[in-house]
Symmetry: C2
Subunit: 239 residues, 2 copies
DNA sequence: GAAAAGCGTGAAGCCTCGTAACGCTGATAA
DNA sequence: TTATCAGCGTTACGAGGCTTCACGCTTTTC
């Protein structure tokens, strides 16, 4: 007869989290799984490069494919569509931010709370400067129709970044160095401090401070970080 | 024979600033010029509505045309291409912001400097909330390739918004109420204050503060505005 | 009233997204 | 060892958006 349902549909997509070759959790990845993961990384890196050069709005599957020496349809083996790729990039960007903040933990003496706070602020800014495309993916204008799911990976990753700062402030509180007359709630104070630093960083990242020379910008940022520290509740140790 | 250069090319585009029916400066607009201006407004309004619903990245000429009951090619009589339309929208957005800030001038007693500053901050936030699409156009992730010309209309309009705040602080200075230990330069202090308020507004506009209920957000914003006032150099009158 | 300018349309070319059907390769299993 | 199969990548294709072109209609201008 005809068409006896051969191949039963190519198992397209890979959507949620299950890759076609998804091995049981904990087992060593097979050669194929490693190759697949490597290709996924290649695709995401190529996409980030293109976003850096042309903006996330102009990201084209065709260009990614050309970069990798593939044809556009090949990418659909790894991402169901452009949105799924963007979602993965956003999630990765949150993780990248969290990693960058975590990395500062080891560079500053644990008992120097002011230094830890300022270093965290500086890491936030450095990360934005070094990964403008990731910063734009997270904090740039979001697509209204898209909207990440409330309990999705982006929400979790975002929470992780925030928790980093809260933990720092908790340490500060136990040291008896916390206290602010305007915002008694620690979490709310953290939000305002974050907003203070974020305002500077986002203006700078989007070129609205390009009139200032770099040295002045650096100086102003340090000042802004100090103001944020005060907002967060760190009482100035050395004024 | 054939093709005797009839119509000498349809005078397409309208790019820089000269509309096809551009009348001499100062003369009353003709009926046609008014009709054209009205159509331009219709196009821009339709575009803003679509941006609000679907994001600036998904703005389609086809959709704008459909909204106005036109065919897509008709829009090319008014804008050379999608980028030119977006440029116009960005410029308009800056003007909209400036107008919103200017409008607060009359609502607060001129001698109440704290109230004027807080009202300006509030106007900034209200404008962002009421015109999220305009806010996104100015402060959302810009297209890397695009980059407004340094002396272009967007730069001028942006400067106008900034001057508004500087003027306010100049009034404050003459009143002898200005002085800040951290940032002696008034313009730099303005930038930090702006960044402080902007950080809150942009986080809120992009949904990063959606976990907070509106009343709490309002309260926090007022606090942030007070902190910005202190950064700008306003010495607290009523602590 | 005639010429010109401006406006809008349908047709057409190019590019991108996304789907479908097919061949190849390496892994797996009898 | 050989047959099968999952996964990968390709070509072919349809749908839809951007933009240009050639043309007709309406309004303004002389």
């Amino acid at each position: 007869m005809a068409a006896e349902a051969t191949r039963k549909a190519p198992a397209r997509t890979a959507a949620g989290g299950g890759t076609p070759t998804a091995g049981a959790t904990g087992t060593a990845p097979t050669r194929r799984e490693r190759a697949r993961a490597a290709t996924v990384e290649e695709i995401k890196n190529a996409a980030l490069d293109l976003i850096r050069d042309h903006g996330s709005a102009n990201l084209r599957f065709t260009d990614i494919a050309r970069t990798l020496g593939l044809t556009p349809p090949a990418l659909y083996r790894y991402f169901a569509d452009r949105d799924e790729l963007l979602t993965a990039l956003v999630t990765d960007s949150y993780d990248s931010l969290s990693d960058a903040l975590d990395a500062t933990r080891g560079t500053v003496p644990a008992d120097d709370l002011d230094a830890r706070f300022l270093a965290t602020c500086g890491a936030y800014r450095s990360w934005a400067q070094d990964s403008p495309e990731r910063f734009a993916l997270i904090f740039g204008s979001p697509v209204p129709g898209y909207a990440a799911p409330p309990d999705g990976p982006t929400a979790v990753a975002g929470r992780r970044a925030m928790d980093h700062v809260l933990e720092l402030l908790a340490d500060t509180a136990t040291a008896g160095r916390l206290g602010h007359p305007l915002v008694p709630d620690t979490e709310q104070a953290t939000i305002l401090a974050w907003a203070t630093v974020h305002g500077f960083v986002t203006l700078e990242a989007h070129g609205h401070l390009h009139a200032l020379d770099p040295a002045t910008r650096d100086h102003l940022f340090t000042t802004q970080a100090r103001l944020a520290a005060r907002t967060a509740g760190l009482t100035p140790a050395s004024p």
